[in-house]
Structures are given as C-alpha cells and as structure tokens.
Symmetry: C2
C-alpha cells in the first residue's frame, strides 16, 4: 500500500457517486490505488439489509429441534393471540396460493425425483433447524415470543449425518425416491481405461480422507426486507451476492414473473458463496409482505443462520494414485461420498463438473476416473462455499501425492516436479476434458520451495522440543464461469457510470472496474462510478462467486469501454476535423497525434454525443452494454509452502512460515489480489485447523453458535507472504480469478506440513490439539 | 372504447410490474386496448412526489411582493428563532459554496450577457413572487410561520408587464446588458426577398394581435423531495416530465457531476411543458438537504406555482400577408414582441426555430420573414407550454388568412384551398427552411368543412336571437424533436421490460410502448412492462414534451424490439435446427414456417439466451438499447371547424359544434390519439375564451389563484368530434405526434368563428363575455 494517502481521504465506495474521487494518476491496470470501498466502511457508513425498513414487521421462524421427524400437528392459536403478532403461517397457508413456495431442486443432474425444499416444512423435517412455521409480528421481540408459543408435535425418525453411513443398509431414508439416500451418482473420466492404468501400474498409493463440513460464517447473517406493491410488484432488499440470481430463484418460489421482482442488494457483509443461495427467509418474507400488505423483514439469528444456512464441503473420499516405478503418474481413481444434507439444493459441489475436473490438478495424468455420490443426510443442505469443489479436489490430490512420495521414499517436491504439465503444453487438455488455458507451473513450485529452503522438517525437533514439518501444495483453480453484463455509460458531462451484474461484498469491484475503464478511456478513475446490486439498475447478471468477477465482469466492462472509446474517437475526429485513425487519446480527451496541438476533451465529446450535429452514421448517446462469456474458464494456479512447529505435549502447532505463490494472470490491482490471497488462506487455515460442523448423535448441530463453531482467530494465523507470477490468460484482459486460491491451497499445505512433522500417514481435518495430540501418542 | 372489459380489471400501469396483465389479443398497432395507466389512478393508488418523504423537513420560500425592487436587507433572526425552524437561507448562504445556484440562462441565442435566475434573489427581484429567502422547518406549517417572520426591506423600482411597452424609451430596465429590455432578436427568412414580394403584391392584409399569456395549470403543483448521501450523492424525487433533463440542469445549478444526481419522477399529475423546466424549488431543496444532512421536501403552493412557475405564450404581433389579386399568397411578414419575463429561461417559444418555422403552415408562400424580439418584462419567466411556439404561429397565420378572405370578399375555405401545399409536393421545403415530411392537406380541410356544412354563419341570428358564426383553422405542427433512448430487455423467463427516456404524465406510454413491442415480438402486451422516470433505471433521455414520445420514444423502442427479434430468431433457429430465414414468429414463439409443426416458445428462447450453448457468434443475453433520432421532425396537420352561437346580450357564446380532423400518421392507439385531441382542444379553448395571466399596474399577478385564473370548466367545452386521416410519416413506425394539435388549432378556430358571428375584424383572446359584449356594442 502506498501509504501516501489516507484511506479515509482517498476514494469513494461501491455503489458510489458522491465520493468516487480519485487522483487519476497511478490508477491504471497493474497499479494499486487505495480501495474506494474502504472509507465508507471505516466511517461506519455502510448500510446492510437490516439497516433498512426499520418500520417493517419482523419475521421469525419456528425451527425444528429434530433432525428428522414427522410433523404431526402445529398449534398456532396461542401464538396468534399474542398482542403484536400479525400472522402465524404453516405450510397449509402457503399451499393455498399459486406460489410453489418450494426452493428449487439442485440444478445438477439427479438420479431421483425429489421435491424442493419447502419454505415451511410440509409434513416432515429433514434437518435440525428446518423452518416449520413462520411468525410475523410488529417487532422481532414479539416475533420471538410468537415463535416460543407455537406448539408443534413431532414424531422423531432416525438420523444419520455421515454420508457414508447414510448409504448403509438400515440407515434412515430421507426420500422414498432415493431409498439408499443417494441422490445422484456422477462419473467423470473413462473408468475402464483408468482401471487398466491401475492394473498395469508398478505402484498404487491410496488415501482415505474426510473433507470436513464447514459453515460459511459471514459477519452479516442472511437478511431480507420484502415489500409488495400492486403496481410495482415485489421489492426484496437482501444480502445477496447475486441479485439477478436471487430474482430468478424468487420468481420460481413465489411463482411470479421476474419482471415483477426487484432485488436490491446493498452493502453485503461477507458472502463466501453462501449469499448466492436461495434460503427460505427471503421467500417467506416476500410472501408475507404480499399477504399482509406491509413490509416484512427477516434477519437470521446466528444460530438460525448456522442451522439452516447452506453448509460447505462434507466429502468422504477414497483416492488412489497409480505410478510407474520412477514416480510417473499413470492413473488417478477417486470415489467420493458427498453429503448434501436433507434436501438437494446445489449438489454440494460434488458433481463431476465442479469437482472431478480439477482432480488432475497440475499433473500430467493419462487416466482419471472419479465417481461422486451425492448423499442425503439429516443435516443442513450443502452448497457451494468459497472454492466450491476445488478445495475438495485439490486436497485429495495433494494429500495423495505426499502419501505417494512417502511410500516411494522420494522428495514430495521432486515427485511433483516430475509430473507437472510442461510450460509448453498449453492449452492443456486433461484426461477428463478440462482445458487449461495457460500455465507455467514449475517456477511457482520452485519459488515456494525456495521460500522454505532450510526450514527444519521431517519431525526434526527444534530447541523448544517442537516437531518441525514442511508442507507443499500445488493447485489449479477454474475461474470465471458463466456470462456477465457490463455497461459503460458516459453522461453528457463526461462522467462515467459503470455497472455490472457482479456484486461486491468486499472484493473491491468499484476500484478494479474503474481501473479497467480508465485504462481504456481518457477519464480518471475519480470520474468513474461503479454501480451494482440492483436488478432495476443493471441489465442482467450472474453475480459474484467462483472467482469470476474480474474475469467475466472485468472483461465485460472492458469490452464496453472499448466500444465507447471507438465511438468517442469518431466523434473526436469530427470535432477535430480529422480522420479517426489520426486521433489519439490524451490524458483527458483526444488530439490529432501528428499535430499535438488542439485537444478535444472527453467532456466535450460526451456533450457532442448527446447534442446535435453528430457525424453521419452515428446515433446519439455514448454508452455500451456487453454480455461477456469466456469460451473456456481461466485456470489460476500456484504453490503454497508451509513450515510448522508442533508442540507434542499440547498438540498445538504454530505456522512458522506461510508462502503463497499464485499466478492469476494479469493483476489489475496487485494489492487487492494480495488481499484475496490473505483472506483465502485464512479461511483455508480455518478448515485445516479449527472448523468442523459437527452433528451430535441425535442429529443436532453441535456447533450452532460462534462460540461452538471454531473460526480461526488472529493467533491461529501466520504472517502470509504473497509472491506472484503473471502468466496471462487468453481473454482480452489476460486475467484469471484469485478469490478462492487460498482456500484451495492452504488445507493440503497445512496438513502436509503437520503430517510431515508427525511422520504419520494422514490426519483428518481439523487439526485440533486433540487430533494432533492423539497422533503424537500413537 | 371496447366497453367489454372494465378499466379496473383490464390493465396495469406505468411504471408497472405486478399489474401489466392484458389480453394479448387486439393489442397490436392500430388497436385501442384500454389504457393500463388508468386502473391505479381510479383506485387512488397513484403516488405523486408529495406522497413520498413524509418525515422530510419542509422547505418554503419567502417571495417578493414587488415585481421589481432592490433588496436592501433581509432580517432572518426572528424566523430562525422559531421552534422547529431548521434553517433560513438567503443568497449570501448560497454564494458561500461551489454551487452556481443560478438556473441556467436560456439555451437560445441571446444578444446580451445576463445572469441566470438565482435560486434566491441576489440583490434585486424582477417579478412578483420571486424567491428571496428560503425557510426549512420540521413541517410545512412551521415553515410558513418562518416565512412570515422573515423581514425584507425592498426599494421598489418601475414595473412593466407588456412586452411592447417594455421596449419603449423610459421603460424600466431589468438588466444593464439589455438597456431596451430586448434580450434577443431572432430573424428567420429572407427579409429583402419578402419585402420585394410585398412591394409587388396587389393586396396586403395586416392584423395586430396578442397571444395571451397563459399559466400552465397542472393539477399537481411542482414538488421535489431531495435527499443527500455522502456515498450515493443526491436523490431528487420530483414532478418532472424529463428526469434526465432535470438531472442535467440540477448538475449545472448545484455544480456537481450528473453521475452524482439521481432524479426519480414518480406519478406526475400533469405537465404541459411546465414540468420540463428548471425552477428554484428543486435546486434549493437539494442544496438544503446536503447542508442540513436531512431530507428536504418542497411542494409549491398554488399561488407560488402560479407566481413563480414559468408561464406560456405572451406575444404581441403584427403580421402582414401579401396576395395576388386572385388570392394567391405571395409573402408573409411577421413582427413579434415576445415577453420572456424577468429572466431569460427558455426564450419563451419566440425564437425563430420554435415559432417562425411554422408560420407558413399548410400554405405555399414563396417569401416569409419573421422577426421575433424576446423582451424582458417584470413578470414570471416564460417557457414552453403545450404547443410551445406552434400555437402562437398558427394563430397568427389563421387569423391573417381569415382577415384576408374578409378583405378580399372570398370564402376563407376557398382562400385556404387555393394556397394549400399540394399532396404531391412532399417532402415540402418551406421558404424558411422547414421540411415537411408528408402531408395531404385538402382532405382534412374538406372533411372539417363538410362537418359544419349548413351551420348558420356570418352573424345570422338563430331563433334565440344568437349570432351564429363558423370558424376554420388549419395547422401543421412539428413533432418528435431530439433523440430518445429505448431499451427492450427480455428476462430469462421471457417477460419483457421496456424502458424509455420519455416520461408519462397522462399520455399512456405504458399502453402504447407495449403495443409497439408486441407488434415486433411474439409476446402479449400483458407480459411487457414499461419503466420510465428514473435516471438510474433508464440509460438516458430527453423527456416527454413537444409531441415527441411516440415519435422518438416509440421508434427507439421499436428498433430495440426489432434487434431483439432478430437475435431471438437466430436462437430459435438453432433450437429448431433450422436456418433463421425459415423461422417465423407465431403467437407465442417461433416455428419453422414450412413445417408448421414444432414451436419454440419465446420463454424457451429467452431461457436459452441466458443459458449455455448459444449458437456460434451470439453473446448471451436478449436485450437491445437504441438511441433514436429523426433526421427531420414529423409534421402533423389537420383542420378544426367550429360553429358558435353568441348571445349579444350577455357576450356569452356557446360552441355548438367542434370537429377536429387531424392526421398524425399511423395511430398506434386511436383511442389515446382521440384523448390527446380532446385534451388539447380543451386547453386551446381555455386560451380562446377564459385564460389570461394578467398583471396589475403594480406588477402583481392578478390571477395568482385558481379562483382568479379562469381555467375552462366543463360548461365552457363542447362535445368534441374527432375525425382522422392517416398519412404515414417516413420514420419506421410512420407516426407523428398529436399531443399538441388541439392547443394549436382550437384558438384560431374559435376566434375565427366568433369574429365571423360578430362581423368584426379581430378580437383578442380571451373572448370573455366582457370582450364579446364590447365588440357587439361597437
């Protein structure tokens, strides 16, 4: 960070107008101007969904205390009689209307026909905390009283939270359509060819591992404020990563056309994938707002958020690597049980397209076969969480490579290096049909290895008696899927409004998009505002998740800016009485290059665009809209290296060194890239050492509060050293996404280091003191 | 009107989503589906600016009781001390900041450099009611108390409200830069050639007349609710015909970039040009909102609206027509003094481009010369009012033609017919360079004349002793100036949102634009919503005035719809595995014409557009934005015929018959066209018989309330018979505007009829009983 200007003085925010000021110098692609988003947050001026609608009625849910039960009866009478309770709803009320009031079933291919998630339980609950009834009251305190007064009679059924055990005979069945609880079996790769590779292999190494179930823990819980107007339709202000995606989903659930729903997403206090998913709260609030003719707000409690909000990960995997005697990889065979919870909402990231395609990672593996079973368990539904299938895949591969090195008695770095896809082999098509756009893997491996060169390892004891270990994890990550809209609108006074269908919730889109547009147009970033988060203000959008915003949103915005540039240059040429090809951009407009004299300012060009006397063939206006889609996603990659020191007495360990070497192509704003790496690594370390959504034997979520669910704290986190390399991708900006790399690389790197320190074969995450101490003792 | 469906059941509204339902049948161009706008209004669900911001602070103005005075001192102390008064502002407060806080000077060419209209008087007031100080208080009652408590010391100066007298030597001077009060002299046509035509003419006929000053009387007075946020900038909700225009003007006055201002215009209760103009209220409210950090609302009182709001017309004209002995027109010479009030805000419609270009009307006149003097008078500023220069021009010509017929002793119809531009002479270029796109004048004249065939005239007395007269007025009207934006956005579920930069305030854009889009796309109107009135939701816009919305907005929307159609057809072709040229639209999608079998619904196409696997070369999304501008404006024309019966005892007269024959090209919705004609004729009759903004000898507006300013009432208005003809214009839809034709044709038609009944040479409007009785007596 430059340190020369204060964050509070520097920049504006997103969405911003009044404060989009900036210097205009040093704000090009590759510079790191201060984030314009930060001043508002530091001043406490950010406004989250719960800051709106202070007069709105409050919605609260009656939640099932059982993980699996028949709902025999619901008595709402006492609740409805409470002064200030406006309505108490059960499924019977919702079933009256035309609205489906069922969250849509997973878009992934399922092998069975199961119903969607009812907004209120139909006659059965399938996970602890499932909404059974809804109370709307004058305020949230009365609503809570109402919730307490609803009497529900349950008939408990059997529970099973483990996705492997859930497929056992005798396990409780969640849906008749899936008697073995398997919702879908996804296969990727050629099974027979892979089996042949294994049959002919000199060595086969196997690991069995769990990718621990995690709970996305945004600081701001989910929230929605719903309003209904007979003319305007629904307006739903909600904490969303994907306003247009939520509009589409609400359209399904409410049974009304998309044009009758406006979704506004104001400041969002963290998302991590979780806020791209559709939950009962927003649909119930909207339905109640229409029913009651008043605005209705729902803000999740923390435990409600934890119990009902979509969780992440939850894989149980057996993986095998076939090698030649010299360590050349011949085949990879993976079998995964992915717990998807009590309803099929998103496939849990287990479907082949999300997971299996990355298993080969950076390595040349001629035969890969992956089978993923999506399994219903009596738990909260699982959906994509920062990384979404990528961390699960890379964790498998990187643990397996270390296990193989151990078994073969070779240096895990050498084993990796031997099998890397070569720098000349791009675009590279993998055995399962993924096409890596560009890459240069070995230098990032070397750089990471260099960084921990000389660090004690292999269980060496240091002066404090701590066992030392070093871990390496290399990865690839597919980024930038789907399409995105980007609008660049020049106002008559030359100011610019940029909008995109992505939605910032910490990423810094306002800063980045302004840099991208300022690179294309002779306008300083301070005159460029960025607008997101309102389906009425943005043409359409996919949203922000999957490390996609800069890749697809950035390229959409850039392409629109180039269109605007071309038209502006034609107008400038007319104003300067020159041929467009002679006209070149200056700092603040256009001039005839050869003359270097008269300049036409960008504001003058904008004025002319909306005025009279435009050159023949040009229509008025100066704006462009682009819907951008990558032909193939862009594959970010890198290697992280970790050095640990394990206290064998307590099972605690310190991360002595953490070096992240990532290559996400062209970095629009290196400081923001570094911030993304820091955040991702912190979350990855959280998975590796502290977090696990544990269900107790009755099926209750044991970690339903922030006291019980162990997020990493500052003292769990090391200094994170960020190193970079830039191998451009093939899109126009040359960019790849970096939002998730840290969550992908950190878990295997940390586990590999601790495993190295302890000299064990494997340890499942999280590496709590109890787990580590147990391994030391064995 | 079909009468088969109730307005309340039928359609939605604008802007609308939830209620845009409609049958989809009989909603094509040329049909008259019920207006979707009406149900909300009839149910009382419309929301005007004053319905918002109920918690906002209230702004009220201290207004000058003098028409012309120095402001010696302003004592705000007592006002500021009132409990609930938040602030009292004078010019000194405004001058402190960076904002100009002066409404911009007329965009027409001025011959002198004069300042803009200060939002609060600088040191001098120039018309009765000019804002001198502003009070912001907790509510409007306290604000009114505050206004009463402000003490202003004035030093009165001389007043003059007549634009001819204001140019006399000795008249009080408003600005040193214009010592004779002439702000601009506009000339159009070749003076010498015209003089030669007159020199060689056998007959010259002259009239002297006044086009009476009018006050736009929208039911909803001007209003603005201003909010300021350090991040979002200004949001100004206001009663505007042109949200983007007001954003641009506010940008000037507040001195902030356009991107930092959002203008929202909700339901607007009448405009008539007036609500396209920039007034002090919205600027002062915005400035105060920022200054005080609270939302501030200003709603004009009726008298404040009348005294300070821009007025219309106010011409004093001498006009001469040169003829051959056989009645062939040889030349037209016009000299006009146009009062523009105390500040130069809009040129009063007097500038040659607005006024002189229409003087030749439907006639072949080889030489035309017009001189217009824009004159400062100590009155409210004058700006465009329904018709905006066109009624003033046609009134001159049609009075002159009748006077010439009288002098030559020929039938005024014959004299008109003899000089009409022939049906084969289009496009027709006039002597002053206007190019009429298309026309066929004689049939409309014949039709109108036929309608009053046999009506007693020429002062014939009927059985009641009433003097009977018949009047004819033919006209042309330029419509559809400037550019407009039109967006057609298809949502993934196939619903359509249309937006345009125009703004409905009674015209029925929602109904019309939906018809236009349904004509191009296989989507029923009920699935098409129309959005206007928000600078954040609409790319850009010019606004609704000058009979332009269907012409430029409609064509913009149509062009976007055609772009969407082309892309939809390509997608359909891919879905149907056919060549795009083989694919034809059906009622609800596309099918291969030759096969007539498999159909691809529009919703499926929309889904595909936002999904994966689009045909090569197509980017995702299904929407288009068009900025449409006519090469030349479209000239509507027609003839109105009136039969009157004058009571010589009372001076009252009845309009026995009113026939309007108008040709506005293709009529998208004939019922709405008829409604526009009705409204325009009513307003034109108001000018002809009751309305006049009279200033007293002290310069005070004598007609500052609705009791004193005589709007026409139901009993002043006749049954209006609407007849039509359709001569398409050259734009893609073939449409011309019809919003103002009635205000253009009615005044001369009515005056010609009364003049015919009384056998006098001329009578100035308004034809009050006093005026008529005076004429009878003479």
């Amino acid at each position: 960070m430059s340190g020369e200007e204060s964050v509070l003085e520097a920049e504006g925010s997103v969405p911003t107008t009044a404060e989009s000021g900036g210097s205009g110098a040093g704000d090009s692609i590759g510079d790191s101007p201060l984030r314009r988003e930060d001043a508002r947050a530091l001043r406490g001026e950010t406004t989250y969904t719960d800051d709106f609608g202070r007069e709105a009625a409050a919605l609260a849910f009656v939640r099932s205390p059982h993980a699996h039960a028949h709902v025999d009866s619901i008595d709402t009478e006492n609740a409805a009689a409470i002064d200030g309770v406006l309505a108490v709803y059960t499924w019977e009320d919702l079933a009256d209307g035309d609205s489906p009031m069922e969250l849509p079933v997973s878009t992934g291919p399922l092998d069975c026909e199961v119903p969607g998630h009812p907004v209120l339980a139909r006659d059965r609950v399938r996970y602890d905390g499932q909404p059974v009834a809804a109370v709307v009251a004058t305020d949230r305190y009365v609503a809570a009283d109402g919730v307490d007064a609803v009497e529900v009679a349950y008939d408990p059924l059997g529970v099973e939270s483990d996705p492997v055990a859930a497929t056992d005979e005798g396990a409780p069945t969640l849906f008749d359509a899936a008697p073995d609880n398997v919702a879908a079996v996804g296969e990727l790769g050629d099974r027979e060819e892979t089996d042949r590779a294994f049959d002919g292999a000199e060595r086969v190494v196997a690991v069995e591992l769990e990718n621990n179930r995690l709970i996305p823990s945004a600081l701001e819980p989910r929230a929605a404020l719903a309003e209904f107007d007979r003319t305007e339709g629904f307006t739903v202000t909600m904490s969303s990563q994907s306003p247009h995606g939520h509009r589409r989903k609400l359209s399904h659930t409410l049974g009304v056309p998309e044009r009758q729903i406006r979704v506004i997403s104001p400041d969002v206090g963290g998302g991590f994938g979780h806020k791209g998913h559709h939950h009962p709260g927003e649909a119930m609030a909207a339905w109640a707002a229409r029913d009651l003719g008043t605005s209705v707000k729902w803000t999740a409690t923390r435990s409600g958020n934890y119990r009902e909000g979509a969780h992440g990960r939850d894989h149980r995997t057996t993986a095998e690597l076939a090698l030649d005697g010299d360590g050349t990889f011949r085949g990879l065979r993976v079998d995964t049980h992915a717990g998807i919870g009590g309803f099929a909402l998103g496939g849990g990231g287990a479907m082949p397209g999300w997971y299996g395609r990355l298993l080969a990672s950076q390595y040349e593996i001629p035969a890969v076969y992956c089978r993923s079973r999506c399994v219903f368990t009596t738990t909260a539904p699982v959906h994509s969480y920062r990384g979404a299938g990528r961390p699960e895949a890379i964790y498998v591969t990187e643990r397996l490579v270390d296990a193989a090195a151990d078994e073969l008695g070779v240096d895990p770095v050498d084993l990796r290096r031997k099998n890397l896809v070569g720098a000349d082999d791009f675009p590279h098509e993998t055995a399962v049909g993924a096409t890596y756009d560009s890459g240069n893997y070995e230098p990032t491996l070397d750089d990471a290895v260099d960084a921990v060169e000389g660090a004690p390892r292999g269980g060496e004891r240091d002066d404090d008696g701590r066992l030392r270990g070093v871990g390496i994890a290399s990865y690839v990550e597919s980024t930038g899927g789907g399409f995105e809209s980007g609008v660049v609108r020049v106002h008559p006074d030359g100011g610019v409004t940029v909008s995109a269908g992505t939605h910032d919730h910490g990423q810094g889109h306002g800063t980045i998009y302004a840099q991208i547009v300022a690179e294309e147009l002779p306008v300083p970033t301070g005159e460029i505002e960025v607008v997101e988060g309102d389906t009425d203000k943005v043409p359409t959008g996919t949203g922000t998740f999957g490390s996609r915003s800069t890749v697809v949103g950035g390229n959409a915005v850039a392409e629109s800016a180039r269109s605007v540039f071309d038209k502006a240059r034609r107008i400038a040429a007319a104003e300067l009485d020159a041929d467009p090809t002679e006209v070149e951009p200056t700092d603040s407009g256009f001039a005839v290059a050869s003359e270097g004299a008269e300049e036409c300012t960008f504001a003058e060009i904008a004025g002319a665009a909306y005025g009279r006397g435009l050159p023949e063939g040009l229509s008025p206006g100066l704006e462009a809209t682009t819907f951008y889609e990558l032909a193939d996603t862009a594959y970010t990659f890198g290697t992280h290296a970790v050095a640990v020191a394990v206290d064998p007495e307590t099972g605690e360990f310190d991360i002595e060194r953490y070096v992240a070497v990532d290559d996400c192509g062209v970095r629009v704003n290196p400081q923001i890239v570094a911030g993304q790496v820091h955040g991702g690594v912190a979350q990855g370390i959280g998975q590796a050492r502290t977090e696990r959504a544990t269900y107790d034997e009755d099926g209750g979520l044991a970690a339903a509060t922030m006291l019980d669910y162990a997020l990493p704290r500052a003292n769990d986190l090391p200094d994170i050293e960020v190193r970079t390399q830039e191998t451009p991708s093939h899109n126009e900006l040359g960019v790849k996404g970096i939002g998730e790399g840290g969550t992908v690389a950190a878990p295997p790197a940390v586990v590999n280091a601790v495993v190295d320190a302890l000299g064990v074969e494997h340890l499942d995450m999280p590496l709590t003191p109890e787990t580590v101490r147990g391994a030391v003792e064995n």
